[in-house]
């Protein structure tokens, strides 16, 4: 027998750290992360890393140059996504990512503008902006990471908290009805609506790819575990336990009316690509119905 033995270079922690600081990191996808920004602030078991990774993979599979893509986020755990991505990123005020992104998109129509934010940011304080951007069919991709509570501030109830669920501000159980985000986005005019969980990473990547190829107001809801803020008071176990709930209790139903897409605390959770329609965007209409008339007038 012939042997070919390879001498391994000794591990050089300083050199590795230098690479992480200066050249992003060691994984091929790390080129999409800003140098020196990792480790992130998210808790163990959080689903945000999966969603971020899916976004990177989705973007990487397209031909879109990284400098042609901007990410805008609001405030909260998901709001921190912008700070980790190695592209033009804007971390705005609470709830205002969508109107900021609207201005950016209108000033730079050739850029892909993605809004990355949480359920509280997009649907409570920013709810009005979301429905109006959808109504205008503003050419934006909105990725809403829904963990059913305000994680950053320590697990308070929000507009998606399940009826009866416990949080630090609903110690007796939540007595409010939650929003069905996909239904609201669709009713407001979104041309693409999908819901996945952090368990459905492959489907999520496909949805993100589709959004990059599609014009108009595109909305993806991603249900994620928040073991620290939401899992603990509701005895949902670890992040892994919640991933098992997503695996065992979710049902893929594509092309249904989002109105029928339930998502209960312990299931059933309906996921899928619910809506995929074509409609001229705000800028299409502005070009056709306003600019052309103003120029000829």
């Amino acid at each position: 027998m012939r042997y070919k033995l390879v001498e391994l270079e000794p591990f050089q922690p300083e050199e590795t750290q230098r690479k992480i600081d200066e050249t992003h990191g060691l994984h091929p996808d790390d080129q999409y992360l800003k140098p020196g920004r990792i480790p992130h602030i998210w808790c163990p078991g959080c689903g945000l890393g999966i969603v971020l990774s899916a976004f990177i993979k989705g973007l990487d599979s397209t031909e879109i140059p990284i400098d042609n893509c901007a990410v805008v986020s609001g405030i909260g755990c998901t709001g921190r996504v912008a700070g980790y991505l190695n592209m033009d990123t804007y971390h705005t005020t609470h709830g205002r990512a969508i109107p900021f992104a609207t201005g950016l998109k209108l000033a730079k129509p050739e850029m892909q503008v993605v809004v990355f934010s949480g359920d509280g940011d997009l649907f409570a304080i920013g709810g009005n902006h979301l429905i109006h951007a959808a109504r205008r069919n503003m050419d934006l991709t909105v990725i809403c990471v829904n963990n059913f509570n305000y994680g950053m501030t320590g697990g308070q109830a929000g507009p998606t908290t399940h009826m009866g669920a416990k949080t630090v501000t609903t110690p007796y159980g939540n007595c409010e009805y939650p929003f069905n985000l996909t239904h609201l986005a669709y009713a407001s005019g979104a041309v693409y609506v999908a819901r996945w969980t952090s368990f459905h990473a492959r489907y999520l990547i496909e949805s993100i790819q589709k959004c990059f190829a599609k014009k108009g107001f595109k909305f993806i809801e991603v249900l994620t575990p928040c073991p620290t803020g939401y899992g603990r008071p509701n005895r949902l176990g670890s992040g892994l336990d919640q991933m098992k709930v997503y695996r065992d209790n979710s049902e893929i139903r594509n092309h249904i009316n989002p109105m029928e897409a339930d998502s209960e605390l312990r299931g059933p959770i309906v996921v899928g690509e619910f809506v995929d329609e074509e409609k001229p965007t705000f800028l299409d209409r502005y070009e056709e119905g306003v600019l052309s008339k103003a120029r000829s007038g």
Binding site: A82, G83, T92, T93, I98, T102, G103, A107, L291, R295
Partner: protein, 383 residues
């Protein structure tokens, strides 16, 4: 055609609101986001008609919060951008004006002041937002606010507001009022070649070496916009020179001090005042905006009757001309008469600087502006 329509060179009969819209277009503004509100709506209406003529974007947002956010977004997209509102909308904009200060985003915010607080007097004049313009958003930051006294000045000052915003990278406030906004007067729009068109400084360094929030000697960093390859992270959190969030007292000290100092240290360049007869004056009338018109007349009346009265008009209320007021106070002025349509917002600033001198605030709470006689009476009371 689109290129020539942005500066309507010639003599016009315009109200202040329309003049502001034309000033914005002449300054190169190509994005307007707003929400209807009396008495600023005419600006939005004119922008809705005019911006498409120059291939710009007009968008009516769902509220003033969104309008201000969109203006910031458009500025980061490389456009000169503007919004216009009045008191209630100005209150809503405060949140993202703060974001604009923190992100160092050039843009122009017009506030056509009406009587407040709350819904107040939608159709009538006020000057009660002077302190809100200075301190309205939480935290500390430097501010520039311009106060035109005529439609012509509304036009000129809107251009100046864009120049200052691009120069210092902050939202600059055009703090006009209902009276000037709705007043029709002759407005001369010069030829385009005579108008300043200042653009934000671009970074010279390569993206890998550029520190987007390093002020340098000037304290104003050059600005790379979206899509230019710099891959910036721009955040409302306290950040370091790279733009990365740093939650520490040291980072806060460096950043916030610079945000304040970039205006403080350039105050002499920014401040614009107009003086008449202040050299030998015993009494000085300090006024701005609509009130300056009647104040000037009252000063003329007083001088005709032999009183040594001077007139100091603020064209910029912020930064406040502290040095000049101190000088005048030290030069033996007996006192200052400060008429304004509020309960003493600028009078308090004058008093702060005019230590030991008499300061007489002549207040109207809104809805009407002082007649020259009212101010003359105050001058005589002090004399």
């Amino acid at each position: 055609m689109s290129k020539d329509r942005d500066v309507l060179t010639g003599v016009h009969f315009l109200n202040g609101d329309d003049a502001i819209a034309e000033g914005a277009l002449a300054a190169g503004c190509r994005f307007f986001a707003g929400y209807p509100i009396t008495p600023a709506t005419e600006i939005a209406e004119r922008m809705a008609k005019r911006l498409p003529e120059v291939s710009g974007v007009y968008i009516q947002m769902e509220d003033e919060i969104a309008s201000m956010a969109a203006v910031l977004g458009a500025s980061w997209g490389g456009n000169k951008s503007m919004t216009a509102t009045s008191g209630p909308g100005f209150s809503l904009m405060m949140e993202n004006i703060g974001l604009g200060m923190m992100m160092e985003t050039p843009c122009v915010v017009v506030n056509i002041m009406r009587g407040g607080p709350s819904t107040g007097l939608p159709t009538l004049v006020g000057q009660g937002d002077v302190m809100q313009a200075r301190w309205g958003s939480h935290g500390d930051y430097g501010v520039i606010a311009l106060t035109p006294s005529s439609p012509q000045e509304a036009f000129d000052m809107t251009i100046e507001a864009f120049s200052l915003s691009e120069r210092y990278r902050i939202p600059v406030i055009v703090l006009s009022d209902e009276l000037i906004g709705h007043m029709y007067e002759r407005v001369v729009i010069p030829e385009k070649k005579f108008l300043p068109r200042i653009r934000r400084r671009k970074p010279r360094k390569a993206p890998s070496e550029h520190l987007p929030f390093q002020g340098g000697e000037d304290l104003v960093p050059p600005m790379a916009c979206a899509g230019e390859g710099y891959r910036l992270h721009v955040t409302g959190l306290t950040h370091d020179e790279k733009g990365y969030p740093v939650i520490s007292a040291e980072a806060q000290e460096r950043l916030v001090r610079r945000l304040c100092d970039k205006i403080r240290k350039h105050a002499a360049e920014i401040i614009r005042i107009e003086e008449e007869g202040t050299e030998d004056a015993e009494i000085i009338v300090v006024a701005y905006g609509c009130v300056a018109r009647s104040a000037r007349e009252s000063v003329n009346m007083a001088r005709k009757s032999g009183r040594r009265v001077g007139f100091l008009r603020l064209l910029t209320v912020w930064p406040f001309p502290e040095e000049r007021i101190r000088e005048l106070a030290a030069n033996g002025v007996k006192g200052f008469v400060v008429p304004e349509v509020n309960y003493g917002q600028i009078a308090g600033e004058v008093e702060r600087c005019a230590v030991g001198r008499d300061v007489l605030m002549v207040g109207l709470m809104g809805g009407a502006v002082h007649t020259p006689e009212i101010i003359l009476e105050a001058i005589e009371e002090m004399a």
